[in-house]
Amino acid sequence: MPELKYTQDHEWVQAEGDAATIGITDHAQNALGDVVFVDLPEVGREVAAGEAIAVVESVKAASDVYAPIAGRVVEVNAALTDDPGLINREPTGSGWFFKIEPADPAAIGALMDESAYAAFVDSQA
């Protein structure tokens, strides 16, 4: 399995074949609290890096989820509609949000690795 890469917006990215699977980190789900709703992007949508393309709603508040890389949305996690709690229970597994076919596969390599992300989270504390 390719390693997870991370963004400063607390998303993780995992490249697999032609597409990259994207979700929010354990740190992010913990900060958000219990997720009650997700608004996912349309499949086929062309997105820019850093564009807000999904929304995650907890009991308390709504938060944007950003496209970590430019490309095209090729799949969304329909299971989240009925069970948004997956995001809290398995944020880096079955709680994934969407898959993007990257415009530039090299963009994923430029994201933070696990230790860099851990240092980033510590610096924000």
Binding site: G33, D34, V36, F37, D39, E57, S58, V59, K60
Partner: protein, 368 residues
């Protein structure tokens, strides 16, 4: 939260940290928004067992002296003079223009009145009350008292063995008692729609009291996040969000808090506006709303006729853990305020169908 160091703390600040509370700024205080269990679990625990909230940031004061009740009526339309010893009542402080200056609780302790007001308004409220007091009536602020709320169907079974005098109270009753040797003043009331007590205690003994209450069967700590979702399910207003100086008691559907005698005499600030609105109706009304589906619509969401004009906006909105779906309250133009009226909420540019719904969203379970 760079400004955390400038925030006030309650007497339970150390306990919140020890319990793993996530501290946030609220009304100038560092308060726990949640503990490790999380808002959802804390909310559901209050509905199924009992939760303990720290609400020591709220303003407490005593009003003493001959004519204290009549003096307080100079700033509120509630009937304070008819409030019997051992009873508490909800009231509104009014602006001269008929807006709501704050909402508050007042209790008759026999020899004095006990007031509890919102944290964000306490300095203004106390100054307003003092400005109308005649000679001989005195407002005494109680910054050295903590306030805890024990709420939920498990509150009475937990309290019965340790403070039978408090379990003997009915809803909105108030009494002085001892819990674990600590002198308290407790009212059978709260802000969750559940049975329970709000318990005033000396600040120095607040932590011991809280630890004792947390040691009772079924009692878990609950934070401000759960307090907010519980009060919204119960259809209760949050001052500064659902009501403020621009809203009148009639618009806010709080006319019931105006005493009958006061509605004959019209002798309170803003009586002209209230009288006119009761006679002629208001342009807008506070209502409950239930969006279809699971997507919450938050405060400031615009409310439309389906496919048409704007008719109002949401003041509080979120997801009700006990309701199992989204809920909101807000103001709509009067022709659209009837229960069952279909409306549309515009969330992030997309319309969500919803209906005007009676509140509370979750039935109250007070000890009547």
């Amino acid at each position: 939260m760079a400004d955390t160091e400038t925030l006030f703390e309650t007497p339970l600040a150390d306990l919140h940290r020890a319990l793993g509370g996530r501290m946030v700024a609220f009304a100038g205080y560092a308060m726990p928004v949640q503990y490790p269990a999380g808002i959802m679990a804390e909310h559901l625990h209050v509905r199924s067992a009992a939760g303990l909230f720290d609400v020591s940031h709220m303003g407490q004061a005593e009003l003493l002296g001959e004519g204290a009740a009549a003096a307080l009526e100079r700033v509120t339309p509630a009937d304070i003079q008819a409030l019997k010893p051992g009873r508490q009542r909800y009231g509104l402080l009014m602006t001269p223009e008929g807006g709501i200056f704050d909402d508050f609780m007042v209790a008759n302790l026999g020899d004095r009145l006990l007031l509890v007001v919102n944290a964000s308004r306490k300095h203004d409220d106390f100054a307003l009350i003092e400005s109308v007091l005649p000679t001989g009536v005195q407002l005494r602020r109680l910054p050295d008292r903590a306030l805890l709320a024990l709420q939920g169907p498990g509150a009475a079974p937990a309290m019965a063995p340790i403070a039978p005098a408090l379990t003997a109270l009915s809803f909105m009753g108030i009494a002085q008692a001892e819990i674990a040797g600590i002198p308290v003043i407790a009212s059978r009331s709260g802000y969750t729609g559940e049975d329970g007590w709000e318990i005033s205690a000396p600040a120095g003994e607040a932590e011991a009291l809280a630890k004792h209450l947390l040691g009772l069967p079924g009692v878990q700590p609950a934070g401000l996040g759960a307090r907010d979702s519980l009060r919204l399910e119960a259809g209760l207003c949050l001052y500064g969000t659902d009501i403020d100086e621009s809203t009148s008691p009639v618009e806010a559907a709080l006319t019931w808090s105006i005493g009958k005698r006061r509605r004959m005499a019209w002798d309170f600030p803003g009586a002209g506006r209230v009288r006119d609105e009761l006679a002629n109706g208001t342009a807008r009304l506070r209502v409950g709303l239930r969006p279809e589906g699971r997507q919450p619509a938050r405060g400031e969401t615009m409310i439309h006729v389906p496919g048409g004009d704007t008719i109002g906006s949401i003041t509080s909105g979120g997801f009700g853990p006990s309701l199992g779906g989204p809920m909101a309250m807000g103001y709509v133009a009067r022709p659209h305020a009837a229960d069952g009226t279909p409306i549309e909420l515009i969330v992030r540019g997309k319309p969500i169908p919803a209906r005007v719904t009676p509140m509370p969203f979750v039935p109250h379970r007070y000890a009547r």
